[in-house]
Symmetry: C2
Subunit: 755 residues, 2 copies
């Protein structure tokens, strides 16, 4: 096989096709006119080390906030600014690299490239100005810090995050109208409240006048929507007459229950609509490129155009060098169902999908001990031991042990008997793992998708290490290794999670939850971007206004958080002094508290006291952006993920592979693997394998990671793709890029006729 | 037309068919073997007065809790128990009536009838025992009071509520597993918290030891899931080291965000699944009955069976005597498209759907003034005035007036100028209504579906009456008519809502919200049932433990709510004394506060202090039932309603009517009505009408209440019905009744082949 660089002129087309296929597989923008060098550059650009490096520098750049003033760990300005310049250089060269592998007109049309360049330029300018002013001892605000998340969002790799942001942007117009209606309702109720309660001379719990100032009423009722001041805000009126509680109940029903649900509905509906659209767009693009690749490779065979088996193999090898020969043979058997020696258009177009399906090729190996010490391993007692370990009761016994362990953990640590028991439990767990390794083939036991085996082993080893470390600290010195002990405690409790895996129903829910984790990271990114921006602003505005004094501090203003304005405030009384914006870590924690919503009005009022009433706007803005938008998108996403899991039957393409695997008698069910029945199956499958046509090595078994899609996106993509008829080659490339949701919905049938 | 009682033997079949149709229209259980008397009884049973009477007594029975000890308005035991016996008698006779019109085997197979009988029996027994004991001066608990909501749920009329309860029951198994997993997670985190923070000697804000008792930790962390004690529960650990905040953040992300979303997903998914199933069942039943009715009425015409036009008309007249002749003619034209003089099976089956569509027949009448004083009404100045009122600027001017009014309302009431301004605004609004009545035909203006016209007029008239009353009170006596004044205030502010109707985008959202209202009443009922039960239990357990003393009370324990156990508690400090279970009204308000969730732990701890720690279980149970189940169903319902509104195109049946109306040129768009273009249209449509075939009176216009479905259910029903192929007559009747969701989902295609 020729490496890309040594490509002969005749193979250029093949390479282009490979690039196309590769591209279709990963859904990337691709260079339209390619030379071998361009392809090499393109490969390099997409190499995982380059992507990892980009992410690394993005996070270095973001984490500068930890070291810059106000810092968690202060570093001199020179150090942080040098690192920042380095990051900017990396970003710039990455952008340059991207420009090299992208046609010029495409590069300049892409808003995210322009955005990146602007961000680099502005940051650099700001840095220089700030540095110059610092030399003259003038302190200035480093505005450009707020732009740092742009690098996280706009590099090619963060496709999903950009999609989420696009989804938010698309939802904005619709949500704005609902929000205006909602605010209108709040303002109306506030007016009613002013008229009803304003002249009653009622007092709040703190003794201040109740509902006399219109703006304060609006704030209080806005807080009531978030339920944070319920029922306190109602108590004075309720105490006066219980009829007045009806006012607040009506308010909560309309504004909290109905309007907040409507927000969720609007966000969810738009999220679904736009996601569907984007994924459909991707599916069309993929198919379009596959057809182009086919057109390059095709030769005439009888009345139809096809791709020869040899060329097909070469492309696959080039595109996915990591898959095994037997896996490739399997794919060929699926693509060339009747073994005619060539692949037709329809099957070829499916190739990218086939490559995307995780087929785990497993060699059924005999246990290493069986090879080294066959006599001992196959002795009667060894066989008995192994059958014991495979028995259901073995699991049950360990479940009981875990339960007993849980009780011991809850008991007092000081008792020496119990601290010895801990060692006993640890040994029992280690024995369990050793026994399982003795019984099952180790590489099968630690296969990629054996989540629970990995989890168990890692937790036990970590617990072992930490417990030994802790014992060492205890015996050798006076040093109280509290942090190690904390880790020991956490690991000890985490071990108990294993019991969940023993119960089938729990396992299903857990698997769904584990499946959503990768896509949840997108939301982690989304939240990080918004949090970072708000944290930077918060630090500029509130930094140093509120101080925290550790318990036992002799500072006279310790109880007022070092700020007299907070005297007698709810903020100081609740001892919230540590909730401040004095460094990025604290800021993030405060923002998290604001996301959880409860008591956010206390925080808002506290910060408004030490600065200005207008500071409340910062907190209201945060509530609108994070709680009404981001959290609702998060909920919408979890809902959608669960519904898809509930409703999706296996998609067509996957079933084709599965059918083939089944036909060839080389499949294993995931359940069998989990239950450790693999070895039992081996003996039967081995015999079957010999008879069939694939020249695979003996003892080979295929397994589809059936329900374990890597991301919900992949899952959705497959779902929507099933809706596109397979003959449909989609629109011309440019048109696909400009599709809007409206193009898909009412006109969907026209695609068929256009094709 | 013969009245049902005078039916001749030959008309029995017709009557049966009419009963069937009527029944299919309302989806009721029907008497299978019918005599004229049975049909009369059946009509009587379904008469709206009987249904209203049943509801009336159900609510009388429920509201007894207001008058029974502990009472809001105390009445002697004899009075309440006599009323209760009366209610029970009514219920029993209603049940007897139902038994008369239902075949015996169906009656006894129905669990709700058995349930009702048991409830009547138990209540009666309990009442007698309680009365007897009362005579002997022994106080006993009236357990049967908790059964009263059974009457609300189990009478035939509350079909939707029963469906909601069935939906909850069906969701239970699935939600239980998620709940167990969730509780497992809470217990694990509690164990970790105990180990991490238990030995640190930390203190809460109140100075009590922090996280030392396992059960208390579990309660605190359960409360944290509801976010009610965030961030207070975290502060002591956070003050100690900011690293520990990570523990709480992880906890909130997993348990609040992820698990609560999963609960919503599970509830929503099941709600949708079961609703779809039930509605499909109804659709099949309806079609089944329509086919039976067809089979009774059919005559052979050529090669196919049909229903004669005359018989068709008779059936329609019998079934829906309230619809106009012209409406009936329209339906006939749709059913008998080619005017062949008979209706075929397919069209006949559709009749029930056609009857369900709200077609508003409107006679275009000339304005009464035009008839009485044509000279004046058609004079140049009158014409100018009317064109002015119809002009867009007229709406704008009044929008500006409303805005100015809003400012005046917010200003001080005491200023005499402003209180005169109020009269000016009132007059302006009245002038507006009079002008509109002068311009538009009054019966068109006050048509059934002109929500905003009704709203405006009612609000203005009420405001006028209340303002006059208030002025009268003020001038004649010292009596401070505060309650009248409150109503005046509320009405004054409600007037401002009108401005929403002027903006198209808001109107759409508002219409959707108004459409959901009827079905939201189902949830009102659901909430009432659960609240009532919890309130009864709450009153038995907590009654009198906490007392409220009005401000200025001299009671020494006023600050501790009359209970020394509450000394120094957060409950007393927050002045929550009025949140008690001393009567049903207070109980409902407390339960509402618990539903809103915030501060519920303060309430729970307060009540636990005055009784027993186990009392917290009552509050946790309430949280699980109401917040995790009912509120999630409510949210699921609003989501679904919005999605249906978003996604549903007009259904097939409706389009058929609309097409016909359009063909005949007798349609008006709703928008035209709202914009007051009706009169302009009249002149053109009048001419068109004369040419067409329907013998309608001159100036008749049909209008479909297009997007205004009465309930979301009706809407869903139409949605799912579209999925059933029209040739499909469904399964045999008995099988339909026993269908489960599983029957519909995977096997859906088999219905086609079975038909």
């Amino acid at each position: 096989m020729a490496a890309p660089g040594e490509a002969l002129p005749a193979q250029q087309d093949l390479l282009l096709a490979a690039a196309f296929v590769c591209d279709a597989q990963y859904n990337r923008n691709i260079p339209f006119e390619t030379s071998p060098q361009a392809v090499r550059l393109y490969y390099l650009y997409n190499h995982w080390t380059m992507q990892a490096a980009t992410y690394f520098f993005v996070f270095v750049n973001l984490s500068l906030a930890v070291f810059e003033d106000p810092a968690v760990y202060p570093l001199p300005f020179l150090a942080t600014s040098l690192v920042e310049v380095l990051c900017l250089l990396v970003f710039f060269s990455r952008l340059l690299h991207f420009a090299k592998v992208t046609p010029r007109n495409i590069f300049w049309k892409d808003a995210k490239n322009i955005c990146l360049m602007m961000a680099i330029l502005v940051t650099l300018t700001d840095l220089i100005i700030h540095g110059a002013l610092k030399i003259c001892n003038i302190t200035s605000v480093r505005y450009s810090r707020i732009m740092r998340p742009i690098f996280l969002v706009n590099f090619t790799e963060s496709r999903q995050m950009r999609r989420a942001f696009r989804s938010i942007r698309n939802t904005l117009p619709e949500i704005t109208y609902v929000f205006l209606l909602f605010m209108f309702s709040v303002l109306m109720f506030s007016l009613m409240a002013l008229k009803l309660f304003g002249d009653r001379n009622l007092q709040t719990v703190e003794g201040s006048p109740y509902f006399t100032n219109y703006l304060e009423i609006v704030f209080d009722l806005y807080v009531l929507v978030t339920t944070a001041n319920s029922p306190d805000v109602m108590m004075p009126a309720f105490d006066f007459s219980w009829w007045y509680s009806l006012f607040f109940i009506t308010y909560v029903i309309i504004n909290t229950y109905i309007f907040m649900s409507v927000f969720l509905a609007v966000v969810y509906n738009n999220y679904r609509k736009h996601l569907k659209n984007e994924i459909r767009k991707l599916a069309y693009m993929k198919r379009h490129k596959m057809v182009e690749a086919f057109n390059i490779l095709k030769v005439k065979e009888g009345s139809e155009f096809v791709v020869k088996e040899s060329q097909w193999k070469q492309v696959v090898k080039l595109v996915a060098p990591e898959i095994s020969t037997s896996h490739r043979e399997l794919l060929l058997r699926i693509s060339d169902d009747e073994q005619k020696g060539y692949v037709d258009k329809k099957s070829f177009v499916r190739l990218a999908d086939l490559l995307n399906i995780q087929v785990i090729t497993m060699k059924i190996r005999s246990h290493p001990l069986e090879r080294w010490l066959p006599h001992v391993y196959n002795s009667a007692s060894s066989r008995f031991l192994r059958s014991m370990v495979r028995h259901k009761r073995f699991v049950w016994i360990y479940d009981v042990i875990i339960l007993i362990n849980a009780i011991f953990i809850a008991l007092d640590e000081e008792n020496p008997l119990i601290s010895y028991a801990e060692w006993a439990f640890l040994s029992l767990y280690i024995i369990e793992i050793l026994l399982k390794l003795y019984t099952y083939e180790p590489r099968t036991f630690f296969a990629k998708n054996q989540f629970w085996n990995w989890f168990d082993t890692l937790i036990i080893i970590a617990a072992l290490v930490a417990t030994i470390l802790n014992a060492a600290f205890k015996s050798t010195s006076k040093y109280n290794g509290q942090q190690v002990l904390d880790i020991v405690f956490i690991l000890r409790v985490l071990r108990l999670i294993r019991i969940v895996d023993s119960i089938q129903r729990f396992r299903v829910i857990m698997n769904t939850l584990i499946n959503i984790v990768p896509t949840m990271l997108t939301f982690g990114g989304l939240a990080l971007v918004v949090y970072y921006m708000f944290a930077i602003i918060g630090m500029e505005v509130f930094q140093g206004k509120i101080q925290f004094f550790a318990a036992g501090s002799t500072d006279p203003h310790a109880l007022e958080c070092g700020n007299l304005a907070l005297k007698d405030s709810t903020f100081a009384r609740a001892k919230y002094c540590k909730n401040n914006f004095n460094d990025i870590a604290s800021s993030f924690i405060v923002l998290m508290e604001l996301t959880v919503v409860n008591q956010w009005h206390v925080l808002a009022s506290g910060f408004a006291r030490v600065t200005h009433q207008a500071a409340k706007l910062y907190f209201i803005a945060f509530h609108i952006v994070v709680v009404i938008m981001i959290v609702n998108i998060f909920i919408a996403f979890i809902l959608e993920a669960f519904f898809v899991e509930y409703s999706l039957e296996k998609s067509e393409v996957e079933t084709a592979i599965e059918k083939k695997i089944h036909e060839l008698g080389v499949g294993v069910q995931e359940e069998e693997l989990l239950d450790g029945k693999l070895i039992d199956n081996m003996e039967t499958t081995e015999n079957n394998l010999e008879g069939n046509g694939i020249k695979t090595s003996r003892g080979l078994v295929f397994k589809i990671a059936s329900k374990r899609y890597r991301t919900v996106d992949a899952l959705l993509q497959r779902m929507f793709e099933a809706e596109i008829p397979s003959e449909d080659e989609g629109l011309p490339f440019d048109e696909i890029l400009n599709l809007s949701p409206a193009d898909f919905y009412p006109k969907s049938p026209t695609f068929d006729s256009a094709a």
